[in-house]
């Protein structure tokens, strides 16, 4: 079947509510408990039950979903089944997320993947002459794939931090990349991305600064320029990624 199921009868309808949860999940950095770079992507096939809507408190959503490897060229089949509780408190961003997954890739494989990516990034020739990834026709050169993966990871932090019940973000395009030399062997990147926000359809440019070493927590600093809505106060979103949500069983 091709539709997602919401248990009937649907409660006071929040057109965005149930959709935002998988979106937040898709952006949230679930691997961070193990500090692994391993990226997975939420599959569209999920079932959602909204079990608490209290305008004063917020909205709790329970999502069951399956995951697959992010890199479509390496289809190893479903990674596992996950269940998550997403809590949007008072319509605020940065929902808290509790995820439990079964049958995942073992730790050793994850570490191997991390180091492979690390080596690829270190081997890149600087200065990087990059204009857009993907290009305007949606193509990503295989040699640029690691850059895209890292940018996607950093962007997912930013998007998770900004996601609310009504704001959903996608990474539209990477528009510039700059890699910095470091003294301590960390990966240090500056890049600009264009995020697409679904409810307003706006394109939001963000500068993201990312520092990474396999096994260590990712450090993300960012500055996004946002279109101001009449209700909100001043405009720019800025922040650094704090230690994100706790995970169990990953």
């Amino acid at each position: 079947s091709a539709s997602y199921r919401v248990p009937a009868p649907a409660p006071v309808f929040l057109p965005w509510g149930p959709m935002a949860a998988p979106q937040a999940l898709a952006s949230s950095p679930p691997h961070t408990k193990t500090n692994s770079f391993f990226i997975f992507r939420v599959q569209l096939k999920y079932s959602v039950s909204v079990f608490q809507i209290n305008p004063k408190e917020g909205c709790k959503v329970h999502v069951v979903f399956s995951t697959e490897r992010y890199n479509p060229e390496e289809r190893e089949g479903r990674l596992g089944k996950c269940s998550a509780r997403v809590f949007f408190k008072n319509q605020k961003p940065r929902p808290t997320i509790n995820v439990t997954c079964t049958r995942l890739i073992e730790k050793k494989k994850r570490q191997q993947e991390d180091y492979l990516l690390y080596k690829q990034m270190k081997q890149l020739k600087n200065p990087l002459e990059i204009v857009s990834i993907p290009d305007n026709h949606g193509h990503i050169d295989p040699s640029l794939r690691p850059i895209w993966d890292l940018a996607f990871l950093g962007s997912s932090y930013v998007m998770w931090e900004m996601t609310t019940q009504v704001s959903h973000y996608y990474l539209a395009q990477l528009t510039s990349v700059r890699q910095w030399k470091t003294n301590d062997d960390t990966i240090d990147f500056d890049y600009t991305v264009l995020l697409h926000e679904l409810s307003t359809q706006e394109i939001i440019p963000c500068r993201i600064h990312l520092v990474w070493y396999p096994g260590k927590p990712l450090k993300v600093k960012y500055h996004c320029q946002e279109l101001q809505t009449p209700e909100e106060a001043s405009g720019t979103e800025e922040g650094s990624a704090v230690v994100p949500t706790e995970l169990s069983n990953f």
Binding site: W16, R41, L44, S132, H196, E202, I203, P205
Partner: protein, 436 residues
């Protein structure tokens, strides 16, 4: 007539061809007397207070002009984008810095960007000339599409004709393909693609679909029955100005390119400009917004052209407006949660269409009314169509669900078009079998 499925790599040009290409480009550039933007940068400035905003305004008023605003100073916290010629860079940056105006460099060298794009386009055009066929698995420019339309109409003049229904804001012709087996004022089906210019997969799908219709007529019983009794109209480039802009300057442009005196931002969201719940929730009165509804319903020539055409025709029975992305099939209303009177029928039809689509490549769509599936949006095409008496009004959001979004790889064009066709065919068949 179909291109090779899956697009993909082609063998590179030979050394002779490469040199020819270079020479050709230089000649072309010289002949067109094109401006040179070498070293020019686009700076983005965010004013912190009214004083800074007015300082930026002063820059705009300088004579002779030192900067060219792509996005003029409008409100606080709205970014201001300005193109600064190379010769003025030092002065302008000093000006900004001395007044504490923070800026970032959006484009480091405009000419480099333009050269790269031109190079890529010339490359693909050359390939198509040499293979002597239009590639259905590539994205094309406005000129290429319009040229294809003329060829297509000529090759299938027994069934297809071209109608100009109006002109865009920048005076580009707005074209519709008519598929008809004769008769006068047959009941008709309307399909539009590209109302939002950055949704390139929709134009590409429309082109493939047009070709599919002529290919399958006489072979597919369902399609043949449909065309024997009804006419099909396809508007491939519903927003020609926006589309041209996505090729030349801003790949992620959505709106049209209309300009109004005294308003700094350009463009109206053509899918908020219709006369149905105009100006309501889910549209924006801020001209700088991506969902700006425009000053009044149908104020935009691109929308007015369609309204006039469909109204004058008077016998449209289905309208399908195609967008991307999200993988959804939806029916009215967008402007409110109120269900339409034949909601059950539309639900069942959408369900069937989505199942037919899924069977092709396993791609999953969700479906329902627009307001409950996607978001509340006012002044949209399908709401207007429904309120005008067109019972079967649907809106598609094609692939994908955000991985590539608007920048869907060209390799997905044909699979997307193939699956979408099955959904379209289901809707058209139902329309045929349920005359009203």
């Amino acid at each position: 007539m179909q291109g090779t499925p899956g697009g993909g790599m082609r063998p590179g040009p030979s050394p002779v061809d490469r040199r020819t290409l270079l020479v050709f480009s230089f000649i072309l550039a010289a002949a067109l007397g094109q401006m040179n933007f070498t070293g020019d940068q686009v700076l983005r400035v965010l004013a912190k207070d009214e004083k800074q905003l007015s300082l930026l305004g002063d820059l705009e008023g300088l004579k002779p002009q030192k900067v060219d605003f792509w996005r003029g100073p409008a409100r606080l916290s709205l970014p201001v984008d300005m193109r600064v010629p190379f010769s003025e860079l030092k002065d302008i940056k000093a000006y900004l810095e001395s007044h504490g105006l923070a800026y970032s460099i959006m484009i480091k060298d405009i000419q480099v960007l333009l050269d790269e794009e031109r190079e890529a386009m010339a490359k693909s055009r050359r390939l198509e000339r040499s293979t002597n066929s239009f590639s259905y698995s590539s994205y094309h420019t406005l000129e290429e599409i319009y040229s294809w339309i003329d060829n297509f109409v000529m090759e299938h003049s027994d069934i297809v004709s071209k109608i100009q229904i109006g002109n865009s804001f920048e005076n580009q012709s707005i074209l519709v393909l008519k598929f008809s087996t004769g008769g006068s004022r047959h009941p008709a089906i309307w399909i539009d693609t590209g109302i939002h210019s950055r949704e390139w997969i929709t134009h590409a799908t429309g082109i493939w679909t047009a070709n599919k219709i002529v290919s399958d007529y006489g072979k597919d019983r369902v399609l043949t029955d449909i065309l024997n009794a009804m006419d099909i109209f396809i508007e491939l480039v519903t927003n020609p100005d926006g589309f041209a802009f996505t090729h030349s300057m801003n790949r992620l442009w959505r709106k049209n390119k209309s300009i109004r005196p005294g308003i700094f931002c350009i463009g109206v969201d053509l899918n908020r400009n219709w006369k149905s719940g105009f100006g309501g929730n889910g549209s924006n009165s801020n001209p700088c917004s991506e969902t700006y509804h425009g000053p009044s319903p149908q104020s935009e020539p691109e929308v007015a052209a369609i309204v006039n055409f469909i109204t004058a025709h008077g016998n449209f029975k289905a309208l399908i407006s195609i967008h991307s992305y999200s993988q959804m099939l939806m029916y009215p209303y967008g402007r409110s949660l109120e269900p339409v009177s034949n909601q059950r029928e539309l639900y069942d039809l959408a369900k069937d269409a989505v199942e037919a689509l899924y069977k092709v490549h396993g791609i999953e769509y969700i479906f329902g009314s627009l307001s409950t599936t996607l978001y509340v949006a006012s002044g949209i095409t399908v709401d207007w169509a429904y309120d005008s008496g067109i019972k079967y009004a649907f809106s598609f959001e094609l692939r994908d669900t955000g991985q590539y979004g608007f920048l869907l790889p060209a390799t997905q064009i044909i699979p997307t078009a193939q699956e979408t066709w099955m959904a379209l065919r289901t809707i058209m068949e139902h329309t045929l079998n349920h005359p009203y």
